[in-house]
Structure formats: C-alpha cells, structure tokens
C-alpha cells in the first residue's frame, strides 16, 4: 500500500508548501528562503541578512529605481519546451537560468523559484561602474561636509568603488550653499539625484515643493519658485539624504558625527511619543534624529520636536537647590532643602496643600506623586494640560507625552480637570501651599505672579530658570528629558522607555528621586527605593496593564499595554500606501 516516490515528491514540492502560506521560494546567494508574495528583491535580501547597497530606495517611499546602485544578478527557471516535464532537483527546486544582464533589486518583486546573486563578477563590475559615474561630478568636500562619517557615497566608494578617478574633464558646477528653507541647506554639487527628498515631500509630508530641473549631468535639485522647504517635516529630508546635499542648519558645522554617541530614547513633546536617537558628545546634546518604530512614528519626526533640545545645554539650567531667604534665593544642599520643605508643610492643614504635577512626568514620577498626596493627606491635585492644534501626521493635539499614563496611574479620567479649581482656590486663599513638579505655572498654567504672591509656601522643581521659580520659596533643580530614566504611555497606549543620554548637570536630580526623598522626609521613614527598576517593579504589581513587566522588558520598541483606540494619522497613511503596494517596508 506504499505510495510511489514520485507521488510523495509531488505533494511535498517546496513551491506548493510555500504557496499554501502565500509565500514564494527565493534563492539568495545560494541559500533558499521563503518570503511573502509581492516582496521586493531588496527587502527579501535585507530579511535574509544580505546587504544590497542602494541610494534611492527607502522602505517607506516609492521605488523609482533611478540610482542603479542595487543592481544584482537574477535568474528564473527556463520555460520548458512544449511537452517537456519540469526537472526538479533532489530538494524539489527547478534549475535556475541566470540572466546575462543585471536587474535592479529595489523595484522588482520576487517570484517562485527565483535566484538572486548579490556577489560575483557581474554584480561587482556593475557597482564599480555606478560608483564611478556617481563620483565624476561629486566635489571633494568631505573635510567640510556634515554628512562625512554617515555618507553612503563614502561608504560605498570604499566598499565598491575603484579608488581612483579616470575622469579628466572639469567637474560640473552647480549652486552651493543654497538656503532652500529655514532649517535646511542645499548643496547641489553633492546631490546624486536619488530623489528621496522629492518623494518624501510629495508622499509623506504632502507638500511637494522639491523637484529636479535641467537634464543629464546638469540635473539640479531645486525648490519650487516662490516657495520654501518650510514644512514642519523638512528635516527628515536631511536624514534620508544619502549624501551631504541636504544638511541641517541647526547641526551645521557643530560636530563631526563620529564623535557622537547615540542613545535610543523617546520624544516628550507630544502624545505620539516619537522614538528618537539622542546624539551626544560628553554631556552635550548635538542633535536628535528619529528612530524607526513602525507602531509609532515609522521613520520620521517633526522639526518642532526635533529642535526642542537646546535648553538642555543652556545657561538657564538650574544646577543647585535654591532656598529663598528674605528676598533673594541662595544655594543650599539637598538634605537641607528637603528637610526644610517637609517642616514647612507641617504648618499647613492637609486640605490647604495642593500638588501640581506635569503631564511630561514619567509613570514612575506620577506614581510617587500619588504616594506623596496620600502621605500629605490632600486630594487637591492636577496636571497642567497642553493642548494645541494637531497636524495630519505625527504631532498630536495633546502635547503632553504621558496623558495616558497619568490616567492609568492616577486612576482619573481627566487628570487636568481640577487645575481650574486649584487656581481659583489659590486666588481665594483657600489653598495656602503649592508643590509644583516640573511645571512653570506662570507661563503654562495661567497663574499670575499676584496669585503666587498670596501663597504661604511655594515649592517648585524645574530644569530651567523660570518666572514661577523667582517667586518660589524653594526651587529644586530637576532633570531634563535626556537625563531621565523611566516609562511613559503614548496616546495609542504603547508603553515606552526613556533612556539617559546625558548625565544630570550640577547637582540636578531626577524628579522621582526628589519625590522619594520628600515622601520619606515627611513620613520620617527611610525609603527602600534606590533604583528606578525597583520603582517600576512596584508599579507593575499595582497596575494590571503593566503586569509582569520590567523596565528592561519594555525594550527600545515599546509594548502596547492599553487599547485607547487612538490611531496615529501618519501610520494610517502609511498602511494605506503599503496595502496599495506603493511602499514595501
């Protein structure tokens, strides 16, 4: 009753097995892999761990296939003659007939039983040729070019170039140092016409202001006459430019990239919680770039958020606890400051004390704020809201990064609701003492200096000098977001982690440490919390959505913990384009 060998072989052919799962078999550099149907060759190679050099291809943009750098050799099984049976080898694959001319990997999709060779004489010759063409007009600007060190042209000319130029004519002259927008500088001589920036502005930012003029060697990237590259997403073109044609005005000549240390963390300028990389040297932040997270920000970020870091290294930072004596503030030690605050609070009844915290605080800080409230015995508590207009992409209307976390930790549906009543009670004198954490009441919460003058006691923690601090009895220096560790939950319910990129300046302390010390000073007990990891573990046992999590388990990509129903508009657009087959990544 045994089946014939040929029958078993037929039912178990790899192409049928793959087809059942909607996959196809592809041989890459001699190894067979399976990929979903419709995958581009370059994506298939990337997933197989084979790097195909490319300039114009970007996984989140359409593929025009104009740089020709990703040329590879492909092959398909020859079509059998009429009446001829296909000849499968022992593994069940058909023999591949290699094509004599190369194909671009970025714009072609894979097919069943396809072969791809990313090495070999043909491919290497092609890459060398393309590199030589790209370099004939490229200026030798590397010593002054900001892209040097992260330049694809530099990298690939080392890997695939021929090392010397055979070109004897004068290089083509094009406009240099052109200000095409308030934040972006263009150097046309360096441009290799990959058109990534043009496609980004058209497809993602929906503001098609860039384009090519002229033809052939004289092709020039320009901005539309009478327009500027002034979109709030313009600096993403700098990130995706594979060469130094587009450079950032903000980062211009600030530091060479090889000196910078990268720290993955998250942005705190709006509820989206854009994933970012903070680039530092020593204790100075030089720039911030987006980090890929396909569940949050894809690979982009808005300029307004990206450039909001200069306060971290500014002279306005508070570096020591300041205690007000008579009229002026004088520096003091942390232990004196905390003891002073605890003893002053004892002068007030519990319902005369109110706490105002920040929607920019981490979950850990909010948790301790709640504990402080319980310790003091007050119920007067609010966060400072920040609402502004949302855009169609990444900037959310809620400019506080941790509103969802605050709702969870504090157990309130609207943690901003009671700010107005607190303000009214401060004016009427019902509230006599205010503890403010990481917020500036006068600038951001509609308090007037007169309101604060009527208070019996005002304590504030903040990273920089501000109008509220001038009127505070005690000012505590706290950490900026690059100096913090902790977790936040973004608007779509994703738990994400802040990592420390720079060391706190001076005697600055993290807000959670300030809160912990304050709690133990008021309750006269010694706190057992020494590490933020322990604090998060405590959090995880109290809140079901965070169950079984630790800070390290959150990882760099975050974990979805709450269903909020909020959809980031940029991702909606991206998924639509992916479903339509425009993009692949």
């Amino acid at each position: 009753m045994s089946e014939t060998p040929s029958a078993t072989a037929e039912t178990k052919l790899p192409k049928d097995l793959a087809a059942e799962k909607g996959m196809v078999n592809v041989q890459i550099d001699g190894v067979w892999h399976q990929f979903p149907k419709g995958t581009r060759m370059i994506e298939a190679c990337r997933q197989a761990g084979v790097n195909v050099p490319h300039y114009c291809y970007h996984p989140k943009l359409s593929s025009p296939g104009n740089c020709r750098m990703c040329l590879i050799q492909m092959g398909m099984p020859p079509r059998p003659a009429p009446g001829e049976e296909p000849k499968y080898d022992e593994e069940g694959y058909l023999p591949i007939g290699w094509m004599p001319r190369p194909a671009i990997a970025c714009a072609n999709t894979i097919g069943e039983n396809m072969g791809i060779r990313t090495t070999g004489e043909l491919v290497e010759k092609c890459r060398e040729g393309v590199m030589e063409f790209l370099l004939i007009n490229h200026p030798l600007d590397c010593p002054i070019c900001d892209q040097a060190g992260e330049c694809r042209l530099q990298e690939f000319s080392v890997e695939h170039g021929r090392g010397s130029s055979r070109f004897v004519d004068m290089k083509v002259k094009k406009p240099k140092n052109v200000e095409i927008g308030p934040r972006v500088r263009l150097d046309d001589e360096r441009c290799i016409m990959c058109s990534r920036c043009i496609r980004f502005m058209d497809e993602v930012a929906s503001d098609p202001v860039l384009g090519f003029t002229q033809r052939g060697t004289h092709t020039t990237l320009t901005v539309h006459p009478g327009r500027l590259l002034d979109s709030n997403y313009s600096l993403n073109t700098v990130d995706i430019c594979p060469v130094g044609a587009l450079t950032s005005n903000d980062f211009r000549f600030e530091m060479r990239v090889w000196f910078l240390k990268e720290t993955p963390t998250i942005d705190v300028n709006c509820g989206t919680g854009t994933n970012i990389i903070v680039w530092t040297r020593g204790n100075t932040v030089y720039r911030i770039t987006p980090r890929q997270n396909d569940e949050v920000n894809s690979t982009w970020m808005p300029d307004s958020h990206r450039l909001n870091f200069h306060y971290i290294n500014s002279d306005a930072r508070l570096t020591e606890p300041l205690l007000k004596k008579h009229i002026s503030h004088s520096p003091t030690t942390w232990s004196t400051a905390i003891a002073e605050a605890a003893s002053r609070l004892k002068d007030f009844a519990a319902d005369e004390i109110a706490i105002i915290a920040s929607g920019r605080a981490t979950n850990e800080e909010l948790f301790l704020t709640r504990e402080l409230m319980q310790q003091i015995g007050t119920k007067r508590f609010a966060l400072v809201p920040r609402f502004a207009e949302a855009d169609e992409l990444l900037v959310a209307a809620d400019r506080n990064p941790n509103t969802t976390g605050a709702k969870l930790i504090l157990g309130e549906n609207d943690p901003y609701a009671s700010l107005d009543s607190i303000r009214a009670d401060v004016r009427s004198g019902k509230i006599k003492a205010l503890l403010v954490f990481a917020e500036d009441l006068i600038t951001d919460a509609d308090f007037t200096p007169e309101d604060l003058r009527g208070l019996g006691y005002l304590m504030q923690s903040h990273h920089s000098a501000n109008p509220t601090a001038e009127r505070a009895d005690l000012v505590l220096p706290s950490a900026a977001f690059t100096e913090k560790r902790g977790s936040m939950i973004n608007l779509s319910g994703r738990l994400q982690r802040l990592n420390r990129a720079t060391e706190p300046v001076g005697q600055v302390r993290d807000d959670w440490e300030i809160l912990r010390d304050l709690i133990s000073a008021i309750s006269s007990t010694k706190s057992e919390l020494y590490l933020i990891e322990e604090l998060f573990k405590k959090l995880a046992t109290e809140y079901p959505p965070l169950e079984n999590l630790t800070l390290s388990k959150i990882g760099h990509q975050g974990i979805s913990v709450i269903e909020t129903g909020y959809e980031i508009p940029l991702l909606t657009h991206e998924r639509a384009r992916k479903a339509a087959g425009t993009i692949n990544g």
């Binding site: 010593p143 002054i144 211009r252 000549f253």
Partner: protein, 188 residues
C-alpha cells in the same frame, strides 16, 4: 618542554682575580679624563662643545643646526601663499590624536569673507602641549595639509594655561607654507 642545562663558563685564574681588569679600567677612565681636560674628547667638535668634554652650554648654545630633517617638534597650523587659513576644522586630527591633546571648535565662514567658498574653518583650535606626545599623526591625517610639526621643541610655560596653544599661537608658530596642493583655488 625540554630542560636545557647551561654550563657556567670556566674562568681562568687571571679572570678569577679581577684586579687586572680593575687596573685596566682605571687607566681607560684616566685616559678619557686627561683627554677631556685637554679638550680633545670624541665628538667635541661636532657637538660644538664649549666646556669640558662634549657638554654643550644650553640654552646659550643650541643644537638646532644639527637637527635632522624629520625632527618632530610642536604641531602648528599654517597659512598658504594667499594668506588663507588652511584648516577647515574637519576634526580628523582631534579624532586621531592618541593623547587627546587637540580640541577644535568648528565655525562657519561668513558670507562676506573672501574665502566663504570654503564654508568652514575653526573658531578655536587648541593643542594642549602638556598632553602632546609629538607623534605627528595629526600631520599625517590632515586632508588639507594644514597642520605641520615644526622643529620647535622649547615649549615652556609657568602655568598650565600657558601650555595650551590656541589658534592665534598655532598660526604664529606655523607661519606660511608655500607650494602645497590647493583645491580651493580653482575658479568657480
């Protein structure tokens, strides 16, 4: 590993009684002493000795003329025949410097400057001569032929701050170098 037993050399009677060698050494030393007193020690002429033996009276007397062509003294910045600061602050020397003696603050050349085509030059350039080990890697790595090791070796100061050469000082010591490759000259 095999153990090899080394035999001690057998000494003759003359060698065992080392008195002979002692006398031999005494005469040799005395010979040199007398030569020195007569001003006829070996190398005295070539080293321009002015006192006893080969001793050169430094700092009144200098050895500068004898210095070899490849001598590596203080690193400096140079200008070219057109008076242009050759350094474009690419910071490669800062990167390569083994003792981290170099600190550069890059800056942009303003649009009204004659050399604004170059776009970039150092706002400040500091070499800490206490840290510098005179290895010459900065000179070797410089893509703009802007930094050269000169023959200056007398780098002294009364304070630590005196030992940090700033941009002004570096150009002062470096001076002008002619005949270098200049890619920024071509007409545009």
């Amino acid at each position: 590993m095999a153990v090899i037993k080394v035999q001690r050399p057998k000494l003759g009677i003359g060698e065992k009684v080392y008195f002979g060698a002692l006398i031999k050494g005494f005469f040799l030393t005395m010979g040199h002493a007398i030569k020195t007193l007569r001003g006829k020690s070996v190398g005295a002429d070539t080293l321009h000795s002015s006192g006893l033996g080969v001793t050169m009276q430094f700092p009144e007397q200098r050895w500068d003329k004898e210095m070899p062509e490849h001598y590596r003294g203080a690193p400096t910045l140079v200008t070219d025949e057109q008076g242009r600061d050759r350094c474009v602050s690419c910071q490669l020397c800062e990167f390569i410097c083994p003792p981290k003696a170099i600190k550069i603050e890059p800056g942009e050349i303003p649009a009204d400057d004659r050399w604004n085509k170059v776009e970039k030059r150092p706002k400040e350039f500091e070499i800490d001569m206490i840290r510098c080990i005179y290895c010459g890697m900065c000179e070797e790595v410089c893509p703009e032929q802007a930094i050269f090791l000169r023959k200056d070796y007398l780098i002294t100061g009364l304070k630590r701050a005196d030992m940090v050469h700033n941009k002004k000082k570096l150009y002062e010591i470096g001076g002008v170098r002619v005949g270098l490759v200049n890619k920024w000259n071509e007409l545009k």
